[in-house]
């Protein structure tokens, strides 16, 4: 790390810049129409102008006020490369061409709003350029070229991206990822090298770019601090089976390792043919305790996306949108977080109504499948009431919108699919397994006793609850319960995947939970796996919090039994290992081997966290001593101190069984 980088990093960590912001009233709910978007964009830019915080900041485009705005549109990956190669002036010409090509008044109008958005961006960046003329020559010179014209160097491209993010975030765009940065930026990187720019200089630029991505993030909309969607995807296989992990990919990993900051969040695309060294350098990053990289398995995700109707070359280009949603960049306006199938609740209601009437477990299981199918139908019906948001600036970045002059979600893009979480799959499977064992196989609890105990939230029924807790649980490589989970997932994907949605796309079933492992679980009554009313579900696709599993090998086998390409909306298996495992090269190497095994077994997505429970407990008691403690939450990393206590507790609970 150079002195310049170190200074910039220290400046970020000092938090001083937060004091430099003036106050601005926060914006409320996102407007729906393109006109209103444009209007609010103008106001936002007046209240929140781009600013350079420090002389060693080569990127600028930070907010000069603490303006925040609520959720709008996002969870997509814009086509940065097309904009970088065209420049805003060129893009304007393309839009003008499209306007003159159409007679449709609505489209012409939409095109003009796209132009107005770009003009605002150009106007503000020109003014910003002139303001910093004497403060940062490097940035000034870059801004003489971009955003008007195309970027030519790696640095100019980084500046352009930072600028795009700045403007997009001020027009109600949230959770926009950086996509396959190591692929689309590689051309600029190589061109610089050919011009004689040294690797050290390129690395310094990259590190400073990473640092600059961390400045406004506390103002971005998210469910919790840190949930801002700035994901970056590295690696991945091409159609011919080549693994695309280049010098720049390696540099990104190295920068992330050295800087130890939460943005960008690294996602690594791997497969069974990924070289072991890549897993090893990724494990070094895990050791930092940032909760990334998150691994995505090309061998499972790509076939899964193809089954959902994505074109082969698009499927091979997939990215993680913000947390763990598998989407296609540039031309995909998918909404993978549309709603959720709350498995413990759906199965719980079925048990309440049907258990006493069921003669056998097979009969009950049939009803469970039916309950999932019915819930799918309800969700599909619910999905017909969709609020359309029109975001003319975002559409500039999405392929197809300039040609058609249609909004991202109104037909401009190629893919407009919707997805649903599958929350608490393991809890629901555990509940059914506990009933199978105790009510039907061993008859230790009668159906009525169990229904009553659930009704009572286990008050005075400790023996029954303990029998339920001692039943087979997902995470122990036990077919008794794993097969039930597979059936639930099969029912979900069968009745949900590829059903048409009102955007002209389809629906996708997934294994994620997002914040719902805490929020949805609050209103769910006691469940037959022994979970009390209101207790949290496991995060995404993971063993129940009450389970002491047989160990990591068993967890991995339990959670890879089902063909996960069938349920590929996204949602990782989350496992914690104690940070002492990674204390030396032996531990690093073996952990890397374990990850590779997970991939070989057909896991779709893995979030591996290095944790120390004692440290977390201490941080809860003495936050002042742990200001830089970073933890993985549900698909993103955040500072432990900035999380609500219930999320802190969940993370501590997750670590309980780690030695």
């Amino acid at each position: 790390m150079t002195d310049k980088t170190l200074n910039f990093l220290q400046f970020l960590k000092s938090g001083e810049y937060k004091k430099m912001r003036k106050h601005a009233e926060s914006f409320g709910e996102c407007p729906l129409t393109a006109e209103k978007h444009l209007e609010s964009f103008k106001t936002a830019l007046e209240l929140c102008r781009p600013v350079l915080f420090a002389e060693y900041d080569d990127f600028g485009f930070n907010r000069d006020s603490d303006l925040t705005m609520m959720w709008g549109s996002g969870n997509v990956t814009p086509n940065y490369l097309r904009i970088l190669n065209t420049g805003f002036d060129g893009v304007k010409e393309q839009i003008k061409q499209s306007i003159s090509n159409t007679h449709n008044i609505g489209r012409k109008k939409y095109g003009r709003m796209m132009l107005s958005c770009i003009d605002l961006c150009l106007d503000y960046s020109d003014r910003f350029r002139d303001e910093i003329k004497d403060k940062n020559d490097r940035l000034y010179k870059a801004l003489l070229k971009v955003p008007h014209g195309p970027a030519e160097s790696f640095y100019e491209a980084c500046v352009f991206i930072k600028l795009c993010i700045f403007f997009l975030r001020l027009i109600y765009t949230d959770h926009i990822g950086l996509g396959r940065f190591d692929q689309y930026m590689y051309g600029f990187f190589l061109a610089d090298k050919r011009r004689g720019v040294s690797c050290e200089e390129l690395f310094e630029t990259l590190e400073n770019f990473f640092i600059s991505l961390n400045f406004d993030t506390d103002l971005y909309w998210g469910m919790q601090q840190g949930d801002n969607g700035q994901s970056m995807v590295l690696g991945g296989f091409d159609v011919d089976g080549n693994y695309l992990y280049n010098e720049l990919s390696e540099m990104c990993m190295k920068a992330s390792l050295e800087l130890c900051i939460i943005d960008p969040k690294i996602n690594l695309r791997v497969g069974k043919n990924t070289p072991e060294e890549v897993f090893e350098s990724a494990t070094l990053l895990t050791k930092q305790g940032l909760g990334f990289p998150q691994y995505c398995n090309d061998d499972v995700v790509i076939p899964g996306l193809i089954k959902l109707g994505y074109d082969k070359h698009d499927a091979y280009d997939y990215v993680v949108a913000a947390c763990w949603e598998f989407i296609v960049p540039n031309c995909g306006a998918d909404t993978p977080n549309y709603h959720l199938l709350d498995f413990p609740l759906v199965i719980g209601n079925m048990i309440k109504n049907e258990l006493c009437e069921s003669k056998s477990f097979d009969e009950l299981m049939e009803k469970a499948r039916l309950a999932v199918a019915n819930e799918c139908e309800r969700l599909l019906e619910l999905g017909k009431i969709v609020v359309r948001v029109e975001n003319p600036l975002l559409s500039v970045f999405m392929d197809g919108c300039i040609e058609s002059l249609l909004d991202t979600w109104s037909g401009g893009t190629k893919y407009r699919n919707l997805g649903s979480h599958g929350v608490g799959i393991s809890s629901a499977a555990d509940a059914l397994a506990a009933i199978k064992k105790n009510v039907f196989d061993e008859k230790t609890i009668s159906a009525q006793q169990l229904t009553d105990a659930l009704e009572m939230n286990f008050e005075g029924c400790e023996e029954i609850r303990n029998l339920l807790l001692d039943s087979p649980k997902m995470g122990n490589n036990d077919a008794y319960v794993d097969s039930i989970a597979s059936e639930l997932m099969a029912s979900f994907s069968k009745h949900f995947n590829n059903k048409p949605n009102i955007f002209g796309g389809i629906w996708r079933a997934g294994t994620g939970s997002a914040q719902n492992y805490v929020y949805a679980s609050k209103t769910c009554p006691a469940t037959a796996d022994g979970r009390r009313s209101g207790q949290p579900y496991p995060s995404s696709f993971s063993p129940s919090l009450e389970t002491k599993s047989a160990g990591l090998l068993s967890v991995i086998q339990s959670f890879t039994k089902y063909d996960l390409s069938d349920i590929i909306n996204g949602g990782p298996l989350t496992i914690e290992i104690h940070d002492s495992v990674l204390r030396n090269d032996i531990g690093i190497k073996k952990t890397a081997q374990l990850v590779k095994k997970y991939i070989e077994f057909g896991g779709h997505q893995l979030q591996l966290n290095s944790v120390n429970r004692e440290k977390l407990i201490d941080a809860q008691k003495h936050p002042e001593n742990h200001k830089n403690l970073i933890v993985r939450v549900w698909g993103w990393s955040g500072y432990f101190n900035e999380l609500d206590v219930e999320f802190q507790d969940h993370i501590i609970k997750r670590c309980e069984y780690i030695i």
């Binding site: 286990f458 400790e462 023996e463 609850r465 303990n466 807790l469 490589n477 009450e546 047989a550 160990g551 990591l552 090998l553 068993s554 991995i556 086998q557 290992i577 495992v581 204390r583 030396n584 032996i586 531990g587 073996k590 952990t591 081997q593 374990l594 095994k597 077994f601 030695i659």
Partner: protein, 281 residues
């Protein structure tokens, strides 16, 4: 067939031999090392333990316990009645066939590694241990993590069955050994020399206990022993202040006579003198 008593199987144990391994912990140990961090491995029988964290103080466990020699002994009903599920059995009787089929189920994961038998002292249940080793022979790499305290004939049989030994060397001086572990090291040293001579894969492990095993005299003695036996690699395990963490679980108190707060001395210079490579775990 004899039944064995195990208290844990740890999957993905990283520091118990080559590759990714599962470690089986057998109950019962003839030693009583002051710094033992697995006190539940000392007693040979099944125990009921209670986690000290999260107790709501309802008293259900005590209502179902009995008094023996002035001590509270929890019974099965104590486990069943606890609303927080804080009590559990520590130790489980298992047949070697059952255990081995469980271990072999993970064979695909353990192809570069294998299984390690630890404890307690695995030789404390040598009959059961040998049954397991016989069943796994040729199917999976096996290792034994041992204090080396067992009859020579038993030890010799083990060298025929297991692939790798993780051998603890604690104290060179016999009197000191008796003082801190409760037994003489005569058999241990004899078995060590035998093992080194046999040419079996062997990893020496030295716990570094401040003021006890990390003294100049002791490390020098152990190095001399290793060097005479032709062993030039050792893994050092510096004392971990978490060692006392599990005593409360058993209703015991942890009160070592040495000063826990001191940082153990690695004594790298002595190892270097004897050309012994070290790895600090």
């Amino acid at each position: 067939m004899v039944k064995g008593c195990i208290f844990s199987i740890e999957e993905f144990s990283v520091y118990d031999g080559p590759g990714i391994r599962s470690t089986v912990f057998l109950k019962g140990c003839p030693l009583s090392c002051e710094w033992c961090h697995n006190p539940e491995g000392q007693d040979a029988g099944i125990q009921i333990v209670k986690s000290p964290n999260g107790c709501v103080g309802c008293g259900a466990c005590f209502e179902n316990a009995v008094q023996e020699n002035g001590k509270t002994v929890f019974m099965e009903r104590s486990i069943k009645k606890c609303p927080m599920k804080l009590l559990r059995y520590c130790g489980k009787m298992t047949e070697s066939t059952e255990l081995c089929s469980k271990l072999l189920a993970n064979r695909e994961f353990l192809s570069d590694g294998g299984v390690t038998f630890s404890g307690g002292e695995p030789f404390f249940q040598s009959g059961f241990l040998f049954e397991c080793l016989e069943q796994l022979k040729g199917k999976m790499h096996t290792a034994i993590q041992t204090s080396g305290f067992c009859e020579s004939a038993v030890f010799a049989r083990a060298t025929e069955l297991a692939d790798h030994f993780l051998f603890d060397l604690k104290l060179f001086d016999e009197a000191q050994h008796i003082k801190y572990t409760g037994v003489s090291n005569r058999l241990i040293l004899e078995n060590f020399r035998f093992l080194a001579k046999s040419g079996k894969d062997l990893t020496v492990r030295i716990p570094l206990i401040p003021g006890v095993t990390d003294t100049y005299e002791n490390i020098d003695g152990l190095c001399r022993l290793m060097s005479e036996s032709g062993i030039y690699y050792a893994e050092l395990m510096p004392y971990n202040k978490m060692a006392g963490g599990k005593y409360k679980l058993l209703g015991k108190t942890y009160s070592p006579s040495f000063d826990e707060t001191l940082t153990p001395d690695i004594r790298a210079d002595i190892f270097e003198k004897y050309c012994i490579k070290i790895l600090v775990l």
